[in-house]
Symmetry: C3
Subunit: 260 residues, 3 copies
C-alpha cells in the first residue's frame, strides 16, 4: 500500500500541493505520490468527484486516494476515510469522494478525529496539508482505519444525474467539459452501444445535432461527433476542435439520444 494519489482544486501555481507532498514523504518516505489533477475549478465538488471516479480504478489495489475539494474548510463538515475492497479514500465529506465510491464495495467509513495522525498544528484553512496528507501517509504505511476515529454509517453522496428513457429517447446531461472541449455526459456506454445509427442532440446555447462514431477522427474535420469516450460515457466532440467552445456546451446541458 504505497501509492498515494492526489486530486485537489489547489492548482500548481502556489506551494500548496508541494507542501502536502512534503508531509506525505515525512511520514512515508517510500510513498509513490501521483497527481490525478490539481486543476479542479476552485470549489467545484462535482468536477473533482468526476475526475476521481474516472481515474481511481486504474491504480493498483491498495492505493490511497486523497481528494480535497473543500469549500467549507475549517467549518463543521466532517473529515473521513473510507475503506473499500480495493482502495482507501481520504478527504472532506463534501461529496468529492462519493462518485468514486459508488463503484466500490464499502467496508468501513471512519471519521478523522484522532489528532495523533494529524500535524501538530492544525490551520483552519489548509486541512489538505494538516489532516488529509498525514492521515493518508499513515494509511499507506498500513495503519488500520479503526485508529482514526468513530465508525460512520454514511457519507455525503453527491446526486448522480441518472439518464431517463422517455418515449424512445434517452435524456441525459453534460457532466464535465475536458481540456479538449469534449463534453462528457452521464450516459454510460452500456446504454448506447451498438446503436450505430443513433442521432444525438444537445441543447446548449442552441440546439445541435451530431452523428455517432467510433472515434473522433471518424467524423469529418470540424464536425461534431458523438463517441463513447475513455471514461465510459457518451461524449460530444468536434474532430480537430472544441465542441464546448463551438456550441457553447456546459455541464447541465441536456443531451438526447434518439434511436429511431
Amino acid at each position: 500500500m504505497n501509492t498515494i494519489t492526489l486530486t485537489t482544486d489547489f492548482g500548481t501555481r502556489d506551494w500548496f500541493v508541494g507542501t502536502m507532498k512534503g508531509v506525505l514523504l515525512g511520514i512515508n518516505p517510500r510513498a509513490a505520490i501521483m497527481d490525478i489533477t490539481h486543476e479542479v475549478p476552485p470549489g467545484d465538488v462535482r468536477a473533482g468527484a468526476f475526475a476521481l471516479m474516472a481515474a481511481c480504478r486504474y491504480f493498483p489495489k491498495g492505493t490511497v486516494h486523497v481528494a480535497v475539494v473543500d469549500p467549507g474548510v475549517g467549518s463543521l463538515r466532517r473529515a473521513i476515510a473510507v475503506q473499500t475492497e480495493d482502495y482507501v479514500f481520504v478527504g472532506p465529506d463534501t461529496g468529492v469522494l462519493s462518485w468514486a465510491r459508488a463503484r466500490e464495495k464499502i467496508k468501513t467509513i471512519r471519521q478523522l478525529e484522532n489528532p495523533k495522525y494529524f500535524l501538530k498544528t492544525i490551520s483552519r484553512t489548509f486541512h489538505g496539508r494538516d489532516i488529509f496528507a498525514p492521515v493518508a501517509a499513515h494509511l499507506s504505511r498500513g495503519l488500520s482505519l479503526k485508529k482514526l476515529g468513530r465508525e460512520l454509517k454514511d457519507f455525503v453522496r453527491l446526486p448522480w444525474p441518472k439518464p431517463e428513457e422517455r418515449g424512445g429517447t434517452l435524456c441525459g446531461e453534460i457532466v464535465y467539459i475536458d481540456r479538449f472541449g469534449n463534453a462528457i455526459s452521464n450516459i454510460a456506454a452500456g446504454f448506447v452501444s451498438g446503436e450505430a445509427k443513433a442521432i444525438c442532440e444537445v441543447i446548449g446555447k442552441r440546439k445541435m445535432r451530431c452523428v455517432w462514431a467510433e472515434f473522433y477522427g471518424a467524423a469529418p474535420v470540424n464536425s461534431p461527433v458523438a463517441v463513447v469516450g475513455s471514461s465510459g460515457f457518451l461524449e460530444i466532440a468536434v474532430n480537430g476542435g472544441s465542441a464546448a467552445q463551438r456550441f457553447g456546451l456546459k455541464p447541465g446541458n441536456a443531451i438526447l439520444v434518439r434511436t429511431n
Copy 2:
C-alpha cells in the same frame, strides 16, 4: 538525504523541468523529486522566495531544496549552496533562497565553482539543468558542501518588509496573491492572534475594510474576510470568490490592522 524539491519559474509548458529531472535521476536514481511550483511568474524573485519559505519546512530533514528564479542567468551572479540545520538549499544567489533560510540556522554557505559536479557542457541560459540539478543530485547522495567551492560569508538577502506599529495600528503590506485570489500579507499570526474584534483595512485600488474570522467560510458568501492563513500570515479572502480580483489587490498594497 534523498528528497529533492524544485521551485522555479520555468513553467510546465516546455521541457525545462523534465530535463532537470532527467539530470537528477542520472546522478541519483533513487531521488524522490518533488515539485513545489514551477509557476513562479518569470523573474519574480520575491514570489519564488515566498513559495519556498512557505513550503520548505514541511519536508523531511535532509531534503535538498533547489530554487531557480534567475533573471540574471549567465551573468556574474553567483551560484550557491547553503547548509542549514535541517536542509540544503541550492540555487542562484538572487535572493530566491533568502526568505526560506531566514528561519533556518545556517551552517555553511558555499559558492558552486567545482565543475566536477556540473554537467560537462554548461549553457549560458539554463543553469537549472547544467549546474543546479547535478549539484543537488550529488548533495542528495551525501556529497559534502566543502567539495563545491569556497566558503562565502553571506548571500543576497531579499529585504523582508517588516510590519510597523503606528499609534495602535499595525501597518503591513500584501506580499503574495495565491491562485484563489487570497492576498497574503507580511503580518505574522503572532501579531494578531486573539484580536477577534480587529478591523482590517486594505488600501489597493480603493480602500476596503473587512472583519476578522477564523476561516474563510465563517464570513458571509462573497464578503471579504481577514484570516490567519495556512502559511502563518494574515490574509484577505472573499468567501467563495477572489479577493484580489474583486478589490484589485496586488503585492505592495498597504494593509492596516486596527484594534480599537
Copy 3:
C-alpha cells in the same frame, strides 16, 4: 530500466495523465515516472517532437520515453516502439517520436500489436492509457521489443526544416516558442558559434533585427537579442520580456543570420 518519461498534449486539468500513471504503477510499481510536459498544444505533433528531442538525452540510459500527440487516435495510424542505443521510445507513429530518434542510432522498430501487453479493454479514444502506458511499463521491466509485434522498416519522419546558406546569409526558421516567449530556431549552435559580430534578422509580422550575445542578460533590458539557447539552437529573446509577444513571432517565421 526503471525511468519512464511522459510527453503528451493531455494537459493536467483532467485525469488523463494521472490515469496513465496508475496503469504504469500497476505493472511496474518501482517505475520512476517523470513528466516532460503535458502542455503540448492539442494535436501539435511538431511541438511535441521538439520537446521530446530537447529533453530525452538528459535522461539515464535505459529510460523509456512515451510520447503521445495523437490527433488520429482510434484510426489506422500505427502504434510503435523503437529501441535505440540508449533509449526506448513508445508512441503513435505520427512523427512525434521522429526528431528525438534522429539523434539516436536505431536498433529495432516494432509495431504494437500483441494485446497481451495492453489493457484488457481498449477504448477508441485513449490509447495513452490503454496501449502506450502498459507497453511502456512492461518495457521498463525488461520486456523484449520482439514480443510486441512485427518489425517495421521505417516510421513516420516529420520533416525537419534544414537551414540554407544563400550568399553569405544563413536562412532558417522559428520552430518553437517557449513559455518565456523566446523564439527557438532550427539553426544549430555549430553553424553560428564564434560569429560574435553576426546580425540576426527575423521576418515575422514585421522585420526585426537583433545583435548577438552570450546570454539573455548581456543585452540591454527590453532589447531583442540572439543567443545560442539551452537546446543547442539559435533563439531570439528579449531581456526581461517576451520576444514572441513584442515582435509577433511564430513558428514558421524566417530567420536570417548575416555575417558581413
